[in-house]
Symmetry: C2
Subunit: 392 residues, 2 copies
Amino acid sequence: MKRLAATVLGLGLGLGLLSACQPVLRGTGDLGLVVERADGRLMVVENSTSTKLASVSGLGDLSHAALVYSRDQRFAYVFGRDGGLTKVDILSGAIAGRVMQSGNSIGGAISQDGSLVAVANYTPGGIKVFDAATLEQVADIPAIGADGKASKVIGIADLSGRRFIYSLYDAGEIWIADLTDPKAPRLTKHTNIGKLPYDALITGDGRWYLAGLFGEDGIALLDLWNPDKGVKRILDHYGKGKEALPVYKMPHLRGWAVAGDEVWLPAIGHHQVLVVDKGKWTEKARVDVAGQPVFAMARPDGKQVWVNFALPDYSKVQVIDTQTKTVIKTLEPGLAILHMEFTAKGERVWLSARDSDKVVVYDTETLAPVAELPAVKPSGIFFTSRAGKTGL
Amino acid sequence: MKRLAATVLGLGLGLGLLSACQPVLRGTGDLGLVVERADGRLMVVENSTSTKLASVSGLGDLSHAALVYSRDQRFAYVFGRDGGLTKVDILSGAIAGRVMQSGNSIGGAISQDGSLVAVANYTPGGIKVFDAATLEQVADIPAIGADGKASKVIGIADLSGRRFIYSLYDAGEIWIADLTDPKAPRLTKHTNIGKLPYDALITGDGRWYLAGLFGEDGIALLDLWNPDKGVKRILDHYGKGKEALPVYKMPHLRGWAVAGDEVWLPAIGHHQVLVVDKGKWTEKARVDVAGQPVFAMARPDGKQVWVNFALPDYSKVQVIDTQTKTVIKTLEPGLAILHMEFTAKGERVWLSARDSDKVVVYDTETLAPVAELPAVKPSGIFFTSRAGKTGL
């Protein structure tokens, strides 16, 4: 009897400990988040065996939401369209903090050292910077252009040493904010860079910042290793002489792909992907594709570029071989493919099929589907391998 | 009294739970291991605030030890000089498994999908392949060269799709083992690649495999996107016409640095680092340095290359600016600098000073030391950000 009691007690304690020890101890290298945009919810997933681990609700308006990871990969900072900045603990599947920081945010970045999170705002414009640990606001930097007006901010990325780079949509400027001393941010401004920069990217090495210009045919380029040389224009009038097509969806430039010494980018309004020589910054080739490209993303080894499309072709995905510069396969993974995310070493890619309410996983060698996860109106997919990469 | 008892009980339970819940729940993105070679011990460290978290003992002979990480970053697979393969749980700071797999191992690799760990052996030569979860041996592939003799294996790296590439030191061959079906490995052999390949690397994109030839002045190069073109020789006779210096320590090729479109590599026996055009594979420049280089490692952004040296200059470290190709600083961080490891985004570098019994952390912008950790005869330093990278 005594023995039984001890066993029962042991069992009870065991269960108690188990439950107290939740969430499970595990590495964070193969984790990720999938945005369920309509419900303001995130799915926590792992990509080793393609399973869902948890759901996190209460994130507000997640249409067009983006996120970045803490340097230890435990936390995600989610930038919501409602101006909410939410810190999510992906190991416990819980919200660790949330602030309403503006009226309308479009993206953000985390500093190289992981200490600061910067949010780029549409309304009222400018950036706000927060302590990554506490979400306490440490800086508020309006974006008043040379024209004296407040501007939307887009295309924000982290640079070395607590610096952020971003573009002023309305003013046509590129700014760098140095927050070495968060109480006294130092600003460097490049003005007259061109009309309406709509998105931007930084190359993975942190050297080249490219802002796509919606107001004119071309790209503004800044060499961050030689910023004194200023912003120059590349691919000027790349659409010249062609009939301009209505633009159904703005391409995303963070999806621009760097493969070896080539940059692959969606030609806005055209059914083409442009191949640009990295370094010379001249057009090298064009590849015809099935629709208006939205994301052109390189498999991590640069051997393939995967492309998704705007309406009405947004249920197709095309795979381009970068050596031959030809489309090697057209896939139809589901309805309304909004985003693609490669695993760290690139053996698989996850695709969100919004109108099929699922995420589909493809093997990137066989180009065949290998797994599927139900998800409610999925959009962005973000794996933790982004934590170690500049600009992601 | 009842209340007090309940409090005490609660406290007891709380402590019990805490202890049962050890180790602490945390992300693994900023973790790493430092080899304490003389004591067969590893230090578990984190690089956000530069602290030691735990020690793991009982790993056998760790002189010249190397390791790779599981794709979830929780486990390290440590390749010991005594032929031991040890699986270490870095979250709990404990050994999760250990097998004696050969007489003498020099390194290993983990497959792209994380399912297989391959060990390259000196004695008796060849590779052995293990299940990454259980450490059960799944394949044993001898390295019998075209000359009919067993060969040491060096320079092993993971390729796409459960394949490994490695070089046969004695036979002068490069082999690729495809373990899609581990019971029936398929081998592709490139023979007559040159004399005595002593180490090799694969570029981060997985495209180029370079094996340094100790038996002759030059490098064997294989384009893995076009393997039918075979192995070609590059940098033939790069030391020609110069007085050959005695080689105090073989350079490590895994440390070869790819910075933009340049590959930086230690010139064996010479006080120089070579700069090679990536793609054309011709020599572009040479930079004179303070001694015989061992590692030439690029900061993740490619803007700097850090170099350490063989005896008698092994207490110096030089920092080269890759744009100007000049040494911008000579550091003396401690005695006998054996290894260097950058944080994922490159804001800091950790250096092991074996004979000073410490690890020193430098800020890579100011080039000043910012932290120091005591360590007993430290050698290799490995951060978990390697988990997502091909060839590391």
